[in-house]
């Protein structure tokens, strides 16, 4: 973003740009809190803040549709699912003693590397692209829908096949217990014993 802004006068930022940077910093802070917090549910709630911050960034870039989808899917559903899962565990109120694993340095390395790769790719790809915030809205539902179904149909369909596969897989996994029991009763009682 800063690189792109540089060509347009980096030294006199507009209000939107200032807001963008501030929200970005807040989002980054929330994201850091998410990964460093020792309280599991706090981490999930910081994730809400981070995802909401990203949604605000989308809004500032006039991608309204993407912003609301971000809120709907990530804040409204994914985090709820996450919290649901956390409530099913024995996550205590207060710090979890086993929240840290010995792999934190490895994780940090991987995270830093992937972040660097992503930033590099994005900066390299969109170096000269400039979003004109004052002109026609470029992230409205209409524009997004048109580009999605005109230029990105194949990835879209591939994604839906992937999701379908995940769905079928989930059903198979959840039904497996009953199947195994039935199989054990009919064909291989010894295997059934082992599994129990």
């Amino acid at each position: 973003m800063t690189l792109a802004a540089a060509s347009h006068g980096f030294l006199s930022p507009t209000g939107v740009e200032i807001a963008f940077v501030l929200v970005g910093i807040a989002t980054l802070g929330a994201a850091l809190q998410t990964v460093t917090s020792r309280q599991l549910v706090h981490a999930a709630l910081w994730l809400v803040v981070a995802l909401g911050g990203v949604a605000v960034e989308y809004l500032l870039l006039t991608a309204e549709f993407i912003a609301w989808v971000q809120v709907l899917i990530y804040v409204g559903s994914v985090v709820v699912l996450l919290l649901f899962g956390l409530m099913l565990t024995k996550a205590p109120i207060g710090p979890s003693p086993d929240a840290d694993s010995g792999n934190r340095w490895a994780a940090l390395t991987v995270a830093g590397a992937s972040a660097a790769a992503l930033v590099w790719v994005v900066v390299d790809a969109f170096r000269a692209t400039w979003i004109d915030l004052d002109g026609t809205v470029q992230g409205s539902a209409e524009v997004s829908g048109r580009s999605l179904f005109r230029f990105w149909v194949l990835p879209f369909e591939a994604l839906s096949v992937l999701l379908l596969a995940a769905l079928v897989g989930a059903i198979v996994l959840s039904r497996r217990g009953g199947d195994a029991k039935g199989a054990a009763e009919t064909s291989a009682p010894a295997a059934g014993e082992e599994r129990h």
């Binding site: 309280q39 549910v41 706090h42 709630l45 809400v48 309204e64 549709f65 609301w68 989808v69 809120v71 709907l72 804040v75 409204g76 559903s77 985090v79 709820v80 699912l81 919290l83 649901f84 956390l86 409530m87 099913l88 109120i93 207060g94 809205v137 409205s140 539902a141």
Partner: protein
């Protein structure tokens, strides 16, 4: 400058509506429920048929001690009521009440906005349920989450059907494209949307997350005083928002048999209030659904119905275009 002033005035109007309407609905619920059960309801507060009962309740809540349980996660516990309440205020900003831009703030993807933000409100219940350090609260939070996951999908699909019919995601845009025959056309979607919305608000008969006979008051068990009142206010604001959204999406909002221009806002109001009445009516009439029945209703009835509605919308849309 006048633009800013107009915006501030609009937001102020939305805020006033947000503060007044839930109380009106709450009072209506007191009285309607009482009469449906052969009682009178509040009769003394304020003199005339207990009109000030909720004001009195508010004063009572304000006087109560604000207790945070010892083992609770203090900050999350205190933050939860605000998280539960504020989304409904935000949604109200986007609901159009009349033609010619009579809306707090017109949004391009209004349908997505309202559904997304309404979903966030449930996060408040989850935070409350987890942070209370109470097993009943935790169970209530779990049920809330399960219910939200089950009912968000049919609600979205039903709303998507209307958006498909109108060819736009903007709420005023949908109303501009509205014709009277959309009501029978989108009837199934409307029923699914309303039902799923009731479930999302945890209103009876979908009030398993706050089932008092089993888990006291679910996620709100540990709350007292003003924070508890905020949760209640969130519930009634949710009723207003849900009714207004159903009226806008499925009943044609400001469109009416007559008085199209001048009385548009009145039509929206009448439809919203009628739907609020239905919410109360359903609460009085039906017993609570069991948890498995709840999930079954969502996954095996509402989602197929919503999908069928989308198919129907698509077919008719292709036929008439």
């Amino acid at each position: 400058m006048s633009d800013t002033l107009a915006l501030v005035l609009r937001l102020l109007a939305v805020f006033v509506v947000f503060l007044v309407f839930p109380l009106v609905i709450g009072q209506t619920e007191h009285k309607v429920m009482a009469h449906m059960q052969g009682r009178l309801g509040p009769m003394y507060a304020g003199g005339f048929h207990g009109w000030a009962q909720l004001v009195a309740d508010g004063v009572k809540f304000a006087q109560k001690e604000d207790v945070v349980p010892n083992g609770a996660d203090r900050r999350i516990f205190q933050l939860a009521p605000a998280v539960a309440l504020l989304p409904y205020l935000l949604v109200m900003v986007a609901v159009p009440v009349g033609p010619h831009n009579a809306v707090g703030q017109a949004l391009d993807a209004g349908v997505f906005f309202v559904l997304a933000v309404m979903g966030v409100g449930v996060l408040g219940s989850l935070m409350a349920g987890w942070a209370s350090a109470n097993k009943f609260s935790l169970l209530g939070g779990l049920r809330t989450a399960a219910q939200l996951l089950a009912y968000e999908l049919p609600m979205l699909l039903a709303a998507a059907s209307v958006a498909m019919a109108a060819g736009t995601l903007s709420l005023p845009g949908i109303l501009d494209a509205f014709h009277w025959w959309w009501v029978p056309w989108q009837l199934i979607g409307g029923v699914v949307f309303f039902t799923a919305g009731l479930a999302e608000l945890q209103r009876p008969p979908f009030d398993m997350p706050v089932a008092d006979s089993e888990i006291i008051f679910g996620a709100y068990t540990e709350y007292t005083g003003l924070r508890f009142a905020l949760f209640l206010l969130a519930e009634y604001a949710g009723i207003v928002v849900l009714s207004a959204l159903t009226a806008v999406l499925f009943l044609g909002g400001w469109h009416g048999p007559f008085g199209a221009d001048g009385l548009g806002w009145l039509w929206t109001l009448v439809k919203t209030v009628a739907l609020c009445f239905v919410v109360i009516w359903l609460r009085v009439t039906y017993p609570r659904l069991r948890e498995d029945q709840l999930q079954k209703l969502a996954w095996t009835v509402l989602i197929p119905l919503a999908l069928a509605q989308i198919a129907l919308t698509g077919v008719i849309k292709v036929v008439i275009s």
